[in-house]
């Protein structure tokens, strides 16, 4: 548990880069000098406004003391506003939130991302010693993700990109980039849509304990209070915000459908 780092901090936009008209990378400075663990996230909000009321959870893709980088896609009014911000705009940033990936596990790992789930995977990949990196895969649905995927390939030359419509990269889902048999000494670290994570568990049913998933969930508070993000697990409901977002896939109940999927 690393919840103790949660606080509402002041931040400001350093720069925003648009890969296309709906996918963005945003760099922020903030008054947090501590270490960020790959897999942790922040909640962004406009400090002096009551609308939008709640912070928006976004995974940290890159960090250095006092600075973070996030990746996001426009999915609603807050992300649309974020995409239009000017450098210097002040934001309220709650975080860093969540447990993060077990960076000191010492085991090899294959990194698997679906769409913007690449943010936390990028952080985890960069935080992993070269000798433990056993591959990195990005899966996207269609051609509308090409600019984003190309940019990520530019940052990680070994990135294997899969598009479901076969328009670029290799044809198929991210899971098609995985070996049929997962080597005993290797784990999978994944972040992406719930459907992708559930499929990952089905692919390696006897290795669910070695698959680490960073889950995305609608949430309100990001401090463990509201229970809006609680998901069913074998050990009762757990909060994605502070008990996660990283869980061992074997712990999560994957058969409970989410209404928004």
């Amino acid at each position: 548990m690393h919840s103790e780092s949660i606080a509402d901090r002041r931040g400001a936009v350093l720069s925003i880069l648009g890969y296309d008209e709906r996918l963005f990378s945003i760099r922020l400075e903030w008054d947090f000098e501590g270490d960020v663990i790959p897999g942790q996230f922040v909640l962004l909000r406009f400090p002096d406004r009551m609308d939008p009321l709640l912070g928006r959870p976004l995974a940290i893709a890159e960090s250095e003391p006092g600075r973070i980088r996030l990746l996001f896609r426009i999915v609603g009014r807050m992300t649309r506003e974020l995409s239009l911000l000017q450098a210097g705009t002040v934001l309220s940033i709650r975080g860093p939130v969540g447990n993060g990936f077990p960076m000191d596990s010492g085991r090899k790992r294959i990194f698997v991302a679906g769409t913007t789930g690449f943010a936390s995977i990028l952080a985890a990949y960069r935080g992993t010693p070269a000798g433990l990196r056993a591959g990195i895969i990005l899966g996207v649905p269609d051609v509308s993700w090409q600019a984003f995927a190309d940019a990520m390939s530019g940052e990680i030359p070994s990135l294997a990109v899969f598009s479901q419509d076969g328009h670029f990269g290799r044809s198929g889902t991210a899971l098609d980039g995985l070996p049929d048999v997962l080597p005993r000494d290797t784990d999978v670290w994944a972040c992406g849509p719930r459907g992708m994570l559930a499929a990952l568990v089905k692919k390696y049913p006897d290795r669910a304990g070695d698959i680490l998933v960073s889950m995305e969930q609608r949430m309100a508070c990001g401090m463990g209070g509201c229970l809006g993000c609680a998901v069913p697990t074998r050990n009762g409901r757990k909060r994605v915000c502070v008990d996660g977002p990283v869980f061992r896939a074997g712990e999560v109940e994957w058969d409970v459908p989410r209404d928004e999927d």
Binding site: M50, G55, A220, M223, G225, C226, G228, P232
Partner: protein, 310 residues
Amino acid sequence: MSLGTRIERIVGGVRLSSPVLICSGVWPFDPWLWDRETLSGVGGVCTKAVTARPRSGNEGIRVWETPCGVLNSIGLQNCGVDVFLDRYLPMISKSGIPFLVNVAMETEDEVKHTLGLLSDHREDIPGIELNISCPNVACGGMSWGVSADGASRAVEAARESWQGPLWVKLTPQMREPRDIVKAVEDAGADALVVANTWLGMAIDVERATPVFRRVFAGLSGPAIFPLALRLVWEIAGYARIPIIGCGGVTTPDDAIAMLQAGAQAVEIGAAIFRSMDTPETICRGIEEYLDSRGLDDVGSIVGMARPGGR
């Protein structure tokens, strides 16, 4: 700079370090959060609801943002009173933070059972907030609080097992507020929390279906503040016991308005989701207000806006 003693209150038998409480459903039992620095400005915490048995809460989407507000349908997910007593009460009672245990109920027997167990720890528990107003459960919850008969039976049952300070959290869905307030007072409550979330709903137009499995959900946040303020004003006109205003309080002026309307204290919830510094900000605002008026005590603000109150 620490906050002064001018804002301390005793409300409904509970000593509060400020008139700003965190309402139920907001503050979890994680030990690192029960810390005086983190809770700067917080006069007291109403715990997450505790029920006789553990509850896993509602399936499906649980939170949904609305303009200046948030709908929730959590469904009283909690560990049950046994685990609460074993795992959490020792920690929160040692923290030194004033608190009330929020107790929700399905039946009269159930609330007697829950409060009977809590009564065994009477010296560790400053007060109980009886929840007869949760809109997000199928059995009990708000159904106790919409009628005078239900409210009376619920509070009488609670009083059988709990002799300490008893606040009763009302629902804004009350059919006859005046009758319900009288019933709750007559049944032995020490204070009224006015109120809980307002019943609302959302429809996901893409999926063409209600967002929440239970269709209706509870609305909170700044959007409901004028509604809650009106209800506090109204009830303060006839209540014989203290009122704690709850609903959309976000800014110092919101809190001062609730006090001026007749509340002795306020509870805040969604404002904490927005900013954990809200209680301290509100307390500093209240202190500035006292300074600007040359007032010695936060009690002097209570009812100030009412006819003859200044």
